[in-house]
């Protein structure tokens, strides 16, 4: 049936379809993630959460959207117009781009690059640029400070995140996300990487870094309301602020999706259709993120940095080593015990090392 | 005894040394030192003289002193009759005068120095006497000149004394120069200067003009020293010195040295008749001139000085006439009575403290000893027969008469007459008549002064006898005896004539007594014709009183031009020599400046050039270092392109 159209039209058609799907999926997920988050956090704080707009507050995102759009878009005079204007756009673009690589279902990945995972990492690293533009462009001390903090945080968490992915690549032997998911197939889910010792550790590290990458929950120092108003998007209002918001939620969605694909076997599932499994796993991880937000207090900057550089990074390096061992060792219980032992030992060792850490005695310049 | 003859001059020399160095401590003792030293030399000299007189031998010894190329100079002593007589004269008179001056110079502040100079003079005179060659002779001759200068200018505070000393010294120096040239020509002509060999060497050399010249030049020494005609001006002024000095030096010894010189070189002189005539001419001329001036002299010492000059002229004339013995004999006798006259004048001055005879008069009563000794001496010099003066003067007149030179004989007679006249003019003015200047209180001199006067008076009387006929002309034989060994007498007159020429004797006595009478007429009588004579013979009188204007002539002819010459030389020196020196100085300065300029501009220039060049190049090259990074980048990139271009292109 496809014959009647010239081939290049076909190519464009398929491209357009996937683009349309992602373009629709992104914003919608973002909207309903905001609602989900407010509902869940509310419930955790013994309150109901938004329920007045629509049946169970289902129309609340629309309300927010309308509010955002109608709000006046204020641009501070000293602000750098170009940077200020471009920042929100440039922050959404990578968020959307990343969707191209995520395998929603069997054969449902928009672009099956054989460097898919690397694509994901590369694109996520460009968000720092946008954050810089936002913070520097608005010529505001708080936003600058917030910007600096978020960039520092993202840069320092990007390293363990990238390294935690390496064991997966090591085992599956390919960078393409689809291959990774295929590698985890079979046995009704027991082949997921999470059930391997290094897989579990890698998952935890990846997931934590992912959360930090999105500037969410315990790591949301950049927009810490109590200290620096709203971090790098202080000076934004209206539509631009909405874009920031959307980008943040899309990032959290993609991080959870990737975590799921890498460690929870993506769309691999015994009965239900592949995409349903994918979405269930992703939303479980999103719930955990929101759960984090509901409970954990905010990290101090030095704790944040120490966790990344002094705890996660060494752990991932050891993990890569263990994965290497795992790859070459014969598939027996010994392998499991050995690697589990090494990892728990190193986990305990590093935790011991960091424990002794007492924050550096603060030197008061004037009062003492 | 004669072997120690060379010690004779040494004693006075020792005396001189003691006095000059320890004089200040000796004070009055200085006199005794010099007197003892001269007595010692008498003790040596007199026996030696007696030895020569007795044996008639000549004693000499000499040692080699200096070798000049081929010829050698030797020093030594020579004792021959001539030296003996001089020894006899010098030692005795010297001692007496030193005794006299001990009293005369009592209150003089420089007492010891006076006696030092006198002793030095004695030693010089004695070495001259016993010298056996011209060199030693000339040396002592010079020392004597020095002593005369020192003693004349003894009271150098007085300007006149200092000038007189200088004058004396300079005029005698002129003579000495001639003498020295003579010695040299003699030396060149004959090769040796020894007196004994003089006779033989002159014969060997023959009568060459050089020898004649030598003779004449040697005679110049005599003219200077014995104050002959042209160079006589210093003797009257020499009276500025103390009287004993005048007595010793300007009467007895030093002036006699000139005559002694002619006597010593008689062989040389006699070989040239023309030279002999010159000598005679000079002698008579001096004698006559001096006598003429003495006529009008008013100062007692001046009169005696001029009389000494005229008597010396007498001696020279005698020698010139070829009579060695007459001249020497007159020398001896004259020494005694002239010394006496001077000492007498000295005691007169000592008593009256004035030298102008016009102020004196009638001193006979006040100063009997001095007066009588003075009168004896005057008689002697006037040539009154029994006294020594008569015999010696007679000898000379005889020689003149024999020589056939009538004019000379007549002049000599006139001179004798003039001598007698001015001597007794002096005697009558000072001792007879009345004291003209009442401020003077004459008093007799003490014994130490009058003693030597009487001894000399005795001498004046007795000394003439040896030459008199009573003793058979012993003296002339004595003098000619040994001498004839090598010399032959000129004109055959020789020494042997014993016949007394009564005509000559009569003329001389007449001349003497005539002069005395005329003087008495002039000055003893009341008539006082001197004023009349003065007026009638005004020009002659002026001539005489002004000493024939010799001093003025000399000052005009010699002194002033000499000064002019000096000035001119000074100016010449100032301009030319200094000019040259300055020129040389500025020349060097100029050349050094030039050299400095060259060094500064060219040498330094080059060095600086190097510096400047480096500075310039570095300044330009430095501009590349702009410090801007991009400039460097530009340069590198351009060079890269160029390199590529060249790499690809060729």
């Amino acid at each position: 049936m496809a014959g009647f159209l010239p081939d290049w039209v076909l190519v464009i058609k398929s491209v357009l379809i996937s683009i349309a799907a992602i373009a629709f999926l992104g914003p919608v997920t973002m909207m309903y993630l905001t609602l989900l988050e407010r509902k869940v956090v509310g419930r955790m704080q013994n309150r109901i959460g938004p329920n007045r707009v629509g049946k169970w507050g289902l129309l609340q995102p629309l309300a927010d959207g309308v509010k955002m759009l109608t709000k006046e878009d204020i641009v501070p005079t000293p602000a750098d117009p170009i940077a200020h204007f471009l920042a929100p756009i440039l922050i959404v673009v990578p968020a959307l781009l990343v969707f191209a690589v995520i395998p929603f279902g069997r054969g449902m990945t928009a672009v099956d690059l054989n460097v898919g995972l690397l694509f994901f990492i590369a694109i996520s690293s460009t968000t720092t640029l946008a954050i810089f533009m936002a913070s520097w462009g608005s010529r505001n001390k708080f936003s600058l400070l917030g910007g600096m903090r978020s960039v520092a945080q993202m840069v320092s968490y990007e390293v363990p995140m990238v390294l935690s992915v390496v064991p997966v690549i090591l085992i599956t032997g390919s960078l393409s996300t689809n291959d990774i998911v295929l590698a985890q197939g079979g046995w009704g889910g027991l082949k997921w990487f999470i059930f391997t010792p290094w897989g579990l550790l890698a998952f935890i590290i990846f997931y934590l870094c992912g959360v930090a990458e999105c500037n969410r929950s315990p790591f949301d120092l950049p927009e810490a309301e109590s200290e620096i108003v709203a971090g790098f998007h202080t000076e934004y209002s209206g539509m631009k602020f909405a874009l920031f918001y959307m980008a943040e939620f899309m990032n959290s969605f993609t991080i959870s999706a990737l975590a799921a694909t890498l460690f929870l076997g993506g769309w691999q599932g015994p009965v239900l259709p592949s995409w349903l499994w994918f979405f269930m796993k992703t939303y479980v991880l999103i719930f955990i993120m929101i759960w984090f937000r509901g409970t954990l207090p905010r990290f101090r900057v030095d704790q944040l940095m120490n966790l990344a550089w002094k705890f996660l990074l060494p752990l991932t390096l050891i993990n890569i080593f263990v994965a290497g061992f795992w790859y070459f060792a014969p598939n027996t219980i010994v392998r499991v015990l050995m690697s589990a032992g090494v990892l728990s030992l190193s986990f305990w060792g590093l935790q011991k090392l960091n424990q002794g850490y007492a924050p550096e005695k603060r030197v008061y310049q004037f009062g003492d | 005894m004669t072997s120690y003859a060379y010690l004779i001059p040494v004693f006075p020399l020792l005396g001189f040394i003691i006095n000059i160095f320890f004089g200040k401590f000796l004070k009055r003792g200085a006199a005794w030192v010099s007197i003892l030293s001269s007595l010692a030399s008498c003790a040596l000299g007199l026996p030696a003289a007696y030895e020569v007189a007795k044996t008639g031998q000549i004693f000499s010894a000499h040692a080699e002193w200096l070798t000049l190329g081929r010829s050698t100079l030797s020093f030594g002593y020579l004792l021959d009759p001539l030296a003996a007589t001089l020894l006899f004269v010098v030692t005795i008179i010297g001692t007496l005068i030193q005794i006299y001056s001990a009293g005369y110079m009592q209150d003089d502040p420089r007492f010891s120095r006076f006696f030092a100079y006198v002793s030095l003079f004695m030693s010089a005179m004695l070495t001259l006497v016993i010298a056996d060659n011209y060199a030693l002779f000339f040396m002592s001759w010079e020392v004597m000149g020095l002593c005369s200068y020192l003693l004349i200018g003894f009271w150098f505070e007085k300007n006149s004394a200092a000038n007189a000393g200088l004058k004396a010294f300079l005029t005698t120096r002129v003579g000495d120069v001639g003498f020295f040239l003579g010695i040299l020509t003699l030396f060149t002509a004959t090769g040796n200067l020894n007196f004994t060999e003089l006779e033989s060497s002159v014969h060997a050399a023959g009568a060459t003009p050089a020898l004649a010249l030598a003779a004449l030049l040697i005679f110049c020494g005599t003219i200077g020293k014995s104050a002959q005609f042209p160079l006589h001006v210093w003797l009257p002024d020499a009276m500025e010195g103390p009287t004993p000095v005048s007595a010793l030096i300007h009467a007895a010894t030093m002036v006699a040295a000139g005559v002694y010189l002619v006597a010593r070189s008689f062989a040389l002189f006699s070989a040239f008749p023309s030279v002999m005539q010159v000598v005679v001419l000079i002698g008579t001329l001096t004698a006559f001139m001096a006598a003429f001036i003495a006529l009008s002299a008013t100062d007692i010492k001046k009169v005696l000085a001029y009389s000494t000059i005229s008597q010396l002229g007498y001696m020279v004339t005698a020698l010139g006439l070829g009579s060695l013995s007459a001249g020497t004999f007159h020398l001896m006798t004259h020494a005694y009575f002239k010394a006496l006259l001077f000492l007498g004048a000295g005691s007169v001055i000592h008593g009256t403290h004035s030298q102008d005879i016009r102020e004196m008069g009638g001193l006979l009563k006040k100063m009997p000893h001095t007066a009588w000794t003075f009168i004896i001496a005057s008689l002697a010099i006037a040539g009154v027969p029994p006294l020594s003066g008569f015999w010696s003067k007679d000898e000379i007149l005889l020689a003149a008469f024999d020589s056939g030179n009538k004019i000379v004989f007549f002049l000599l007679l006139v001179i004798a007459f003039m001598t007698a006249f001015y001597m007794f003019r002096l005697v009558f003015l000072t001792f007879f008549g009345t004291l003209r200047n009442h401020k003077i209180h004459p008093h007799e001199s003490p014994a130490t002064m009058t003693g030597p006067l009487w001894i000399l008076a005795l001498g004046a009387i007795l000394v003439g006898l040896p030459g008199s006929p009573f003793f058979g002309h012993w003296f002339s034989n004595f003098i000619h005896g040994p001498v004839t060994q090598g010399t032959h007498e000129i004109h055959g007159s020789g020494a042997v004539h014993h016949a007394l020429n009564w005509f000559v004797v009569g003329c001389s006595v007449a001349a003497g007594l005539g002069g005395i009478l005329l003087a008495a007429v002039f000055y003893l009588g009341k008539l006082n014709p001197s004023v009349w004579v003065m007026r009638t013979f005004k020009p002659l009188y002026d001539l005489s009183i002004h000493k024939l204007w010799f001093d003025e002539i000399y000052s005009v002819l010699l002194v002033r031009p000499f000064l002019k010459l000096g000035q001119w030389l000074f100016i010449f020196d100032q301009k030319a020599v200094d000019g040259l020196v300055n020129a040389a100085g500025t020349g060097t300065v100029k050349s050094s400046n030039l050299q400095g300029w060259i060094d500064k501009h060219i040498v330094d220039g080059l060095v600086n050039l190097v510096g400047v060049v480096t500075q310039l190049t570095s300044a330009t090259v430095r501009r590349v270092q702009t410090g801007l990074v991009q400039h460097y980048l530009l340069i590198t990139f351009v060079s890269v392109i160029l390199l590529m271009y060249f790499h690809v292109k060729p």
Binding site: P6, D7, W8, V11, D80, I82, A83, L86, L113, N114, V115, L118, F119, I121, A122, I123, S125, T126, T128, L129, F132, M133, W136, L144, M148, V151, V155, E158, S174, L175 | L628, Q630, H631, L634, F637, V638, I641, M644, Y645, V648
Partner: protein
Amino acid sequence: MTHLYDIVKFGIYALMAFSVLAAILAVTVRNLFHAALCFAAVLIGIAGVFLSLHADFLAMVQILIYVGAVMTLVIFAIMLTERFGDNSSPQNNSLTLAAFGLAIVSLIAFSTISVKTRWPIQENAGALHLSVGELAYALLNTYVLPFEVISVLLITTLIGAVIIAKKDRVS
């Protein structure tokens, strides 16, 4: 399919033009921050060009390292050294004319060279698709020494940079 190729080719040329333009802007824009952003655009453009040359791993690495790390560094540097409000000063100095002339000349020179010389072009030039595996193989086998040396280099620069930029503690 040729249409597709033409479109893609046109896309690539457009990308090149975009990159050159961005490069020009990056070099001439007065405000340094904008220059840095333009430079980021150029980098992404070049990543695109790499993709067109089928070097997609390199493109991803380019983006990851350049845009992610180096740009962050540059912008940090700009922020730390930027003095507020002084970006009005002219950004180019006295050399402008000389540099411009030089640029033109060298451009012409290089272009003529690159066009004139006959490059030994392989026949299957464009078709090769290089998989990451082959790349990894080459990296760790034939070029393992440079790989190790580069790692040493990176460590030393890391330490060096920290020491240089460290504010010297008042001990």
